[in-house]
Assembly symmetry: C2
Homo-oligomer: 471 residues x 2
């Protein structure tokens, strides 16, 4: 729960010690706070040839009301920004000799028009000129087109190459900077705002090195929601909400206006317990019920329906497979994976999960990369990825999205119990040189649950500070 090294090297004494010994100094990440402005700082805008998403970007920047500056390569930006009534200017390359450094919060590059590998040099020029001006805990966002939808192999190739650039930028920027790639489908231009806001916001502090696809969903945007309370009037079910990441998810969804109902997962042949999440800040009262099966859970919830369903409940029973008991295998698979299937089936069959709703499941880096001593857990979490990918096209008919978050090393009671050396390795082996907070996962879930995220489905988003570990 407590990264004492991070705290130490960010104390006045610790900073001096770290400097003199040449120790790494992880940044204290700038995170979302309800009592601080969500957006400030300057966005520097760059573009490749024939950019197609600058208009959508200008819309978002106008809505959130921040200042932008245009790199010389994004000549279209200034007249466009003027048309949107934006505060804007030209990016001035930093002259280190001059002393004062221009500081920007975010670097956003529109690569949507790039259709061959030679044109990738436009990204080189932009990031070559601007990266040093990017603030600590800042943001790199590259906008592209989904490779698999590209007309020619050369365009597909160049768009796919963006992944290599963005992931490398995340690894070399360090200083708490997050770098992500957003692939917007043709027709998704009006679907970008919730996603761009999330990736520009301190809410996405620990999400880095990700490639996210945004599609042109049927109902592009729910007409009437309030950006400060986007989940107002919605009912959200969160499994395993009693503590850790689940509790954080319940709190963040509640803070965004949802009525949150916590549910404990029924063991294979046992009982589910339902209670309103104990979110003191929002004054929800805890009530308990005990439906015996997912079907009864669906019935119990059916009176009012559910808009957001978060499958967070999960357990670990780690052992190498030779030493693992069959019960440890079956319990982990059943609770982490099969129970999600049973609950979805029941809620979807009964129509309890409303059309246009959201399902978010919690996967794990172990589900992506595998892990020593976690054949059972990794199987369950890899299965969650399969669930998301298989169900997304089916649920699209009902305008329901399904996505997964895959946490890396998150500071919880669970990770606090790890042996020191493993814990330290987990904490440091990522581009942020630190573990994430439960709220980092929760904010990512809230973005996926957002009414404006209708174009985001079938995605696996890691919340891992760009962990070195992968597949």
């Amino acid at each position: 729960m407590n990264d004492s090294y991070l705290n130490f090297v960010n104390s006045p004494l610790g900073a001096r010690v770290a400097r003199s010994l040449g120790l790494p100094k992880p940044e204290v990440l700038r995170r979302y706070k309800a009592d601080a402005p969500e957006f400030d700082g300057i966005v520097a805008v760059g573009a490749g040839p024939a950019p197609q998403l600058l208009d959508a970007l200008a819309d978002v920047i106008a809505h959130i009301g921040i200042t932008s500056v245009a790199h010389p390569g994004a000549g279209l930006w200034v007249p466009l920004a003027n048309r949107h009534g934006l505060m804007t200017g030209r990016f001035e390359a930093t002259d280190p000799a001059a002393g004062v450094q221009a500081r920007v919060w975010a670097l956003v590059f529109d690569a949507s028009g790039i259709d061959n590998s030679a044109q990738l040099a436009t990204l080189y020029t932009f990031f070559h000129d601007t990266l040093r001006s990017l603030d600590k805990s800042g943001r790199i966002i590259v906008l592209g087109r989904p490779p698999e939808a590209c007309a020619s192999p050369r365009q597909w190739t160049a768009q796919r190459a963006l992944e290599g650039i963005v992931r490398s930028l995340g690894k070399e920027a360090r200083r708490g900077i997050a770098a992500n790639l957003l692939y917007a489908a043709h027709g998704a231009e009006s679907n970008l705002e919730a996603t761009l806001r999330f990736f520009l916001s301190p809410r996405s502090a620990y999400v880095s090195g990700q490639a996210v696809r945004i599609g042109a969903a049927a109902n592009a945007l729910v007409a009437d929601f309030d950006w400060t309370q986007p989940l107002a009037g919605q009912r959200a079910v969160v499994t395993g909400a009693a503590r850790g990441i689940g509790a954080a998810i319940a709190n963040v969804l509640a803070a965004q206006g949802a009525h949150v109902i916590g549910v404990d997962i029924p063991p294979p042949h046992g009982r589910a317990r339902r209670h309103d999440a104990p979110d003191r800040r929002h004054g929800a009262r805890a009530r308990h019920r005990a439906p015996e099966t997912p079907a009864q859970l669906a019935t119990a919830l059916d009176e009012l329906g559910v808009d957001v369903l978060v499958h967070n409940a999960g357990i670990t029973k780690d052992k190498t497979i030779a030493k693992m008991s069959e019960a440890a295998w079956r319990d982990v698979i059943d609770i982490n994976l099969s129970a999600q299937e049973r609950i979805d089936d029941a809620l979807l069959e009964a129509g309890t999960l409303r059309d246009g709703g959201r399902i978010v499941a919690v996967s794990s880096i172990s589900g992506i990369a595998g892990n020593l001593g976690q054949t059972n857990y990794a199987a369950s979490k890899a299965g969650v990825i399969g669930r998301v990918q298989s169900m997304a096209p089916l649920l699209a008919r009902r305008r329901i999205t399904i996505n997964a978050v895959a946490p890396g090393f998150i500071e919880t009671q669970m990770t606090a119990k790890m042996p020191l050396a493993l814990r330290e390795a987990g904490r440091r082996m990522n581009s942020m040189s630190q573990g994430g907070q439960p709220a980092d996962v929760a904010q990512t879930v809230a973005w996926l649950a957002h009414p404006g995220s209708s174009g985001v489905t079938g995605q696996i988003v890691r919340v891992c500070g760009q962990s070195l570990i992968g597949a």
Copy 2:
């Protein structure tokens, strides 16, 4: 080129030192040798419910002539094996107290019939019982069905979960054991032999943690080839064949019977050089020509055509992007990526690359995960992935396959120049605790180039000893 730690801890004195100090002891991997039998040892066979690939497996085991034993869960195997005239028996679970351990070379599990998450317990039982009996440098192979082709979400989910199991098994088996997952499409049953042979063979020593898809290609199997000289009579072009991985590729393809032509990549506006690869063992003479463009290269090669085209040529010019010159960006993109596109276009347009041919491109872990100081290189290698994925469906019309290998840490002159700490980290951060050899990449290329690999296309196969690093 030389892993002195690996050599030391595998010497009599070093082994004692390592044991007494508790140091990790990477295994000397069993690799393919022309003068030793390729297949020996015992294969232990397991199966889930309704296995569909045992017949194909029995065929392969009969052809390569090794002994199999059946786990109790694979009851179908014994009569099937008898029908194929195989030496077979029952797997006896090892009793550590009894002293003598039964040793098997490979554990092969047919998971193709698994259609829900509860059935994954059959893998638990098999590997729980057998993993301790698996020899050093042994093989774990799980056979499944491609998740994206599954009929129901639950089947897709369970098949996708296999990835978590196999990757975890690779990480906990250690001892030089490679674990891989083969997803065979319906109709691909007759396409499995070349791939199963490769993954059962010492040729795949450094390929672990991979999920490979085998499709039902139009021409299932080229009728007449010799398994000992599968590329006999074929012409293979290898770019960058003068040294390192490229030289190893040229040698292995030549050893499998190909006539190998080495080509140096033309710089942006320069000349290509062509020469027969200097493979002394196979007595090819070096001839030189200097076509000025890929089109001229195509013309020069057109007299006899090309069956196998290996895009290996590549350079690095590492710098953080703020310090990188534009020339360093452009040269790396051009030589590593754009040149591949130009050459393919020329050879495909001219029909120089024959129908039914093979393209294999060399990508990199940096292209998957990104890397500090390699925005240019990672972009080029991520682009190679895009090339493979975009061109595979187009080339299928001409029965040409295109795939990529993505090397991890390989012992070459290039990696020998790395700073010691980085080099040691690269070497040890994988399930083999050591770097790979150029021949490991070359053998993987040869499998993809094999006439029996017609069902393998659009795949990215890492040759990385299951590196921890990924995306």
